[in-house]
Amino acid sequence: MAARLLVIGCMLCLLAGAPISAADRSLSVTIYAGDLALVQDRRDIEVKAGRQRIEFQDVSAQIRPETVSLTAADISIVEQNFDFDLLTPAKLMEKAVGQEVTIVRVNPATGAETREQAQVLATNGGVVLKIGQRIEVLRDDGLPVRVIFDKVPDNLRARPTLSVTVIGGHAGTRPATLSYLTPGLGWKADYVALYNEADSKVDVQGWVTLTNSSGVTYDNAQTLLVAGSPTQAEGGARQPAYYRVPQSRPTVQQAGTESGSRERLGDYYLYPLAERTTIANLQTKQVSFLDVHGVPAEHGYEFRNHWLGTAETPQSAKSIYAFSTSAHAGLGDQLPAGILRFYMRDKRGDPQFIGESRIDHTPMGSTLSLATGDAFDVKVRAVVDKRTRLNSTEWQSDMRYELTNALPRPVTVKLLQEGLWGDARISAESIKSTRRSAEVAEWAVMVPANGKASVTATFDTRY
């Protein structure tokens, strides 16, 4: 009974506004990079002595109820419930089965109202009512009939609600902390890189981007961002590996070995927001964390050919920008995973977008090599000139790579032949290759301005 009174009391205070004002409530939100957040909600709660139910309506709609914990002095928790049976007209009628409602008939000719008491018998497909001794189907004749319910059933709510049944030791107000994990809150980094072609330097700004689709607004929350995604057991919000897009080309050329000045927790870097902020539902919020000017960058071209890849029409080489995250001649920071957008000024000096690339969590001191897109004027045609069967097990493959450059300046293209598996031997080649790994051979090919270059190579393979 006491619990019932408390529920009704709480509902009434909800009707009047927020149950607990922002002043005596302190929210802190820790957001991990992989769509997961830890919400800690400190507030003063009114506890009576004995068994009672405490409701929290303003929790995330995507709350993982199994991770909820409520701590306060001198209470013991009996059970926790997360109710997501929401109040809709259909549910309202369904829960009224067997109960009395008031129906108001409106006479279409006169506009006069007639009130009657009715009992709801069933709601399967249509609503069947018992009025006195008559059985009727609600609005069977299509004429207007209002249905008035006395009350909202206890367990139907406007918003998903967390309720905790506790036994209080002594009555009184005490501070309590409610904490839980929820998906629907996430963050990533977004970088803006402005490349200056004249002096080959890049200006980089970094922003953390928070998104909230958890269904609730976190008012005035102390926010901490964690660069890293803790492993979650199955059933968590983390995407399975096969949903993640495979990295087609590695972006980190050389992993860094420098330590940054950022705060750390275990092996994760922490990015605390210095001011409390309100993270509204469905809001995208950005806060700056990096602003570096004049970092030397290299612009190059890269073309990857898969094993026995042959093309009738020339294919564009990828346009590559490389720079360092080192403290010396680099960005001087570790970079949380995100998307780096490249801009370049056009002839009028306006920045224009030239492509973007995803980066992983990158330690300080790394060398990044990012592809922004296809080069219009630098193309490669890879051709299998000849496949010869040397004997029953060995094949000889003559490859020819024709590189063209329609730019008015010479370029160097990094030409990569993949799929060598380790077994393939290069028995002849027109320029010297370096074997980056058993799998890949690499040539650095200079292509003159408005000119052509050609590379031939003979691969000996088994099978």
Binding site: G111, T123, D140, D150, S288, R387, A406
Partner: protein, 561 residues
């Protein structure tokens, strides 16, 4: 503790090392300290401040990165645009929430950049809730509203104070002094009247929380990427009467599927493929009607009926209205348009991309496609090349040859400019009229590349292929070890003789290219016509006399097993 102090020491060393070079900081932190003395203002009580409407606009449209060379699809515009708006802002002293109203609906909030503000951006926000009937109800849950009910007979309007109790699942449940009721389930005209719109914005809005030590007026630039745009190059090639040259003209067709227009904008399009990553989709609730889902409403006379309610479509998915408002200029009317288009776009280099600038400011209206002249070139010499591409293992019944127009993209051929990918329609003149011959796609073509335009099948040139004989030659074949050192099976060398007949029913002599696809490791060992190689495959370059035919015989060798 020791770890912390050690880290501190590292920090100091690091900051000393690169102090001249890098400026890395949390904006908030710096500002928080700077502002602490001057103002007590916190983000929570920021003043709302509306930026003026844009005084200058620039729209750069990028094509859908993975669309082929065809035309744009107005229903699903897969490209995007970089939009830059110059606006004047009047900032009060203290913390203010600077609102930029009327940004494109397809804004990718994470890409937004604001330049020109005093060094004090605390945070940037894009609100996902737009002002809509459903958002109004959602915002009013638990708050007092007025229920309006009209008596259909007398027309009398009843106003009743009440509270919305829930809006879950598309239905609205409200409470008045009479009791609990559900909206529009009675069959009576019912509606809510709200006292205010709360903090919902009518248009997609980006806001910046900014802290300024004094009141000031600034000109700022807001740049962002927005989806719902696309562009394509549409080429029209018109063959001359003798078929030996063509005129090549092209339009840039660009389209904006957003609900926001960009008046008098500097407009550019960018050719080339840029890398796009599918970032996290930023949540946006575009709103929808009040659905007023009720309890089951079946009656005794009707079979059970399930009510279908209109679903709120995401922005830009409203195909019907998009189609109705689209203004498309017919592209297949080259002759009439040729002299209308005096101005063409100006091309410049943008890194490894090509930027085309529309010479005059133009209005990129909402839900509109527009066309600007890309190029006009005439007297481009072309050679007509007939051809066939045959797999040598199979016989081929008489089939028409395919026809290509070939030229090289250089100055000698009155071209020599980058040609962005697009659809090419080839026309031929018949008296004063133009006849469409064929449509095909073209990929991005740099200067000095070979340009090939497909013209489809040529029924007058037929190709027949026949395998004359095949000889299995086990003696010549190498041994294949099945299990090393134990058993061996002889693989067989195969030698085949093929015959290809090409007949020409045209009254002119034609050039013909016969290309072969051989089995792996195969080669042509002898032939009665000269054989060359193109891209690693054998090719016969032939001349077929007028109303005549040519038969090519060749012998191949490869190994099976």
């Amino acid at each position: 503790m020791r770890a912390a102090s050690k880290r501190g020491a590292t920090n100091r060393a690091a900051s000393k090392r690169d102090a001249t070079h890098r400026r890395v900081r949390f904006v908030i932190l710096t500002l928080g300290l700077a502002a602490a003395g001057a103002q007590a203002a916190t983000p929570a009580n920021a003043v709302d401040d509306l930026a003026e409407q844009p005084s200058d606009l620039s729209v750069t449209v990028y094509r859908a990165p993975y669309r082929g060379s065809g035309s744009i699809d107005l229903n699903t515009l897969g490209g995007f645009a970089l939009i830059s708006e110059t606006r004047t802002v009047h900032l009060p002293a203290g913390v203010s929430r600077l609102r930029f109203e009327g940004v494109a609906d397809g804004i990718e909030a994470a890409s937004a950049i604001v330049t020109g503000l005093p060094d004090g951006i605390v945070e940037k926000n894009r609100e996902g809730k737009l002002l809509s009937p459903s958002a109004l109800v959602a915002a009013a849950v638990g708050r007092p509203v007025t229920l309006l009910r009209t008596n259909q007979k007398t027309g009398k309007l009843t106003r009743l104070a009440g509270t919305i109790r829930a809006d879950a699942g598309g239905g609205a449940v409200f409470e008045t002094s009479e009791g609990i009721e559900a909206l529009r389930c009675s069959g009576l005209p019912e509606s809510f009247s709200f006292s205010g719109i709360g903090d919902l914005s009518a248009k997609p809005t980006l806001s910046v929380l900014v802290r300024s030590s004094e009141a000031l007026t600034r000109t700022v630039t807001l740049s962002y990427l927005a989806s719902g745009f696309d562009w394509a190059a549409d080429y029209v090639a018109t063959l001359s009467a003798d078929g030996k040259s063509m005129e090549l003209g092209a339009w840039v067709t660009l389209a904006n599927g957003n609900g926001v227009g960009f008046p008098a904008a500097q407009t550019q399009v960018v050719a080339g493929r840029v890398n796009r990553e599918s970032g996290t989709v930023e949540p946006l609730d575009a709103g929808g009607p009040i659905l007023a889902q009720c309890w089951p409403r079946g009656s005794t006379s009707d079979p059970p009926q399930y009510l279908q309610f209109a679903r709120a479509l995401p922005l830009g998915a409203d195909n019907e209205s998009l189609l109705q408002n689209v203004v498309v200029t017919a592209m297949a009317a080259p002759a009439a348009m040729r002299f209308l288009a005096k101005k063409t776009v100006e091309q410049e280099e943008l890194g490894d991309l090509k930027l085309y600038r529309v010479p005059d400011r133009t209005t990129v209206a909402s839900r509109q496609s527009k066309q600007v002249r890309l190029l006009d070139r005439s007297r481009v010499p072309v050679s007509r090349v007939y051809g066939a591409d045959l797999a040598s293992e199979e016989d081929a019944a008489p089939a028409p040859a395919h026809l290509l127009l070939r030229t090289v993209n250089n100055a000698a051929n009155h071209l020599g400019l980058p040609l962005p990918s697009g659809k090419v329609a080839v026309f031929a003149a018949r008296g004063d009229a133009q006849l469409l011959l064929h449509e095909s796609g073209m990929h991005d073509l740099a200067v000095n590349e070979e340009l090939e335009l497909e013209l489809g099948d040529a029924e007058d040139v037929q190709v027949t292929a026949v395998k004359n004989e095949a000889i299995l030659d086990p003696l010549r074949a190498p041994l294949v070890p099945l299990v090393p050192g134990a058993l061996a099976l002889r693989a067989a060398g195969v030698s085949e003789i093929h015959r290809v007949a090409i007949s020409n029913a045209l009254a002119t002599e034609i050039l013909f290219e016969l290309r072969l696809r051989l089995p792996e490791g195969g080669r042509v060992v002898s032939a009665d016509h000269p054989v060359a190689a193109k891209n690693g495959r054998p090719i016969f370059r032939l001349t077929i006399p007028a109303n005549g035919s040519v038969t090519v015989r060749y012998q191949t060798q490869h190994t099976t097993g």
